[in-house]
């Protein structure tokens, strides 16, 4: 039972990760978007713990707990703080509407599925399953960054990409060396803070965080 249960739970969390990432793309409100990002990160931590149990790699627990601490609690709080200080309510504006971006997302999922079908050197079942999922998550992050008008949702897109990369690293290599992991987490945190400062600067310069306004900087 137990030997059977963990792989099926890994499958389930994998699918839920996809669903949560799609929900981030589909959500019309910034608050919901960030909460969903927290949920996505939580699922990522759950996947990490399950993989750790399944493969018997104990040092994966540390990145899992760090994910839980940093991406589920700290980064959303930083975001909420930014939103409060910027005084914005609902700020998800996109160049394309939600159903169309969902269709694009599914097309990207197909692309990553068929694109990774014949990669050499993949052996384990989990690797074969999670490579397309992780690639799709990275693509979706890119999609968000490319189609959103506001800086905050673009940051969420970047974080989604990072989550995809993390998923790929966890399932492909059973975890990188601890030092590298810590470096990445630190990078993400500092990245978010720097981008937060950047958002405030955009707001001060243009009285809004619509990145379209940046085009007026051209000579």
């Amino acid at each position: 039972m137990s030997a059977d249960l963990i792989p099926s739970l890994i499958h389930l969390t994998g699918m839920l990760l996809l669903a949560a990432a799609l929900a981030i793309i589909a959500s019309p409100q910034l608050f919901a978007c960030i909460r969903l990002y927290a949920a996505h990160s939580f699922l990522l931590a759950a996947t990490t713990i399950l993989v750790a149990c399944h493969e018997g790699v104990t040092h994966l627990w540390i990145p899992a707990l760090l994910t839980l601490l940093l991406k589920v609690i700290v980064i959303p709080q930083v975001f909420f703080r930014m939103i409060r200080r910027l005084g914005i309510r609902r700020e998800v504006e996109s160049y394309i509407n939600i159903p169309f971006s969902l269709i694009l997302a599914v097309a990207l999922l197909f692309l990553s599925f068929y694109g990774t079908a014949h990669l050499p050197g993949l052996s384990g079942v989990e690797e074969r399953e999670f490579i397309p999922m992780a690639a799709a998550t990275v693509f979706w992050g890119m999609l968000m960054m490319a189609t959103r008008k506001k800086a905050l949702t673009q940051i969420v897109g970047l974080l989604l990409m990072e989550n995809g990369l993390f998923l790929m690293a966890i399932t492909l290599t059973s975890g990188m060396p601890l030092l590298v992991e810590l470096g990445i987490f630190f990078d993400v945190l500092v990245g978010v803070i720097i981008m937060g400062v950047f958002v405030f600067k955009i707001r001060d310069a243009f009285e809004g965080i619509d990145v379209d306004d940046l085009t007026v900087l051209k000579g």
Partner: protein, 301 residues
């Protein structure tokens, strides 16, 4: 008892049970609003009262107006003959599958939409246009959910599907059924005209979808329409119960699902009509994701 007798009994009992499930949701809503809510007999008395009442028929109405309630009721009953309720065999399972089920429901809906325009009121036309708009989006989502099951069970027949899912351990199929459950729950909300999509309790012209279509109906015809609507709702609950939870006691499962739907209805506001496609798009994407997930996870190395 012979299987045929049991499957006929099944359809009859479903006809009897369907208003009861509606009553349960009404009672739940009542309790949430500090009201007592209707008594159990009330839903049945309402139907009986409507069957006895005189009908008022619009002068412009043609035969479509008179035929539509019967077509709706008959097609809903036929559809009920395809779905396993508490007995694993279905009455018409030898003749049709999930695809027929979807199109039998579409047939009834098509006739009601025609009849609503036939009566010559502006509300009818508006209701028809809204209903067709929504159903053109839900149908692909529903079909895709069935196909996601078909990929796994290698059949489109509902009774074989339910039996084959029941024979497997739940953990082996959880990863894709969890997503289809989400998709089919949304489809159920749309099909049974529940609150995030449509409000079954009001005649408010701005928001109504289903009610706008049947506004011109009265008496016997209205009773038939209401009843088939209740049967359709129970039919979707039973589909959810039997496909996703192939264990436990049938009535318990159906009322648990009614509780879930009632809970959603209590805790959510009605969506603006043009936001509903987003909700249905989520159902569609979930079904598609579960289909694709089966390809990814079952991929031979």
């Amino acid at each position: 008892m012979s299987p045929i007798f049991l499957s006929i009994l099944q359809v009859i009992l479903v006809m009897a049970l369907a208003p009861g499930v509606s009553w349960f949701i009404k009672k739940l809503k009542g309790a949430s609003q500090n009201r007592v809510g209707p008594a159990l007999g009330q839903v049945y008395f309402d139907l009986i009262k409507l069957f006895r009442k005189e009908m008022v028929v619009s002068e412009t109405a043609s035969w479509v107006f008179h035929a539509a309630p019967f077509v709706l009721f008959a097609s809903t009953l036929l559809a009920a003959g395809l779905v396993p309720f508490f007995w694993k065999e279905t009455l018409l399972g030898f003749a049709g599958d999930a695809i027929l089920l979807v199109y039998l429901l579409a047939l009834g809906r098509f006739f009601i939409a025609l009849a609503a325009m036939d009566a010559g009121t502006s509300f009818g036309g508006m209701g028809s246009s809204r209903e067709m708009f929504l159903s053109s989006l839900t149908e692909p989502a529903l079909l895709l959910s069935f196909f996601a099951f078909s990929v796994h069970t290698k059949t489109t027949s509902l009774q074989t599907m339910a039996a084959s899912l029941g024979s497997e351990p739940l953990t082996a199929t959880l990863f894709f059924t969890a997503l289809i459950f989400g998709a089919m729950l949304i489809v159920t909300l749309v099909e049974s005209a529940r609150i995030p999509v449509d409000n079954p309790a009001t005649h408010l012209e701005l928001t109504m979808v289903h009610e706008a279509m049947i506004l011109e109906y009265s008496g016997r015809y209205l009773a038939l329409i209401e009843w088939s609507h209740q049967i359709r709702q129970l039919l979707f609950f039973s589909l959810l119960a039997n496909l996703f939870f192939p264990f436990g006691f049938y009535l318990l499962k159906v009322f648990a699902l009614a509780l879930l739907v009632g809970w959603i209805e209590i805790h959510s506001a009605k969506l603006r009509l043009f936001r509903v496609p987003d909700l249905i798009a989520i159902a569609f994407v979930l079904a598609l994701l579960s289909l694709l997930g089966q390809l990814i996870i079952g991929r031979p190395s």
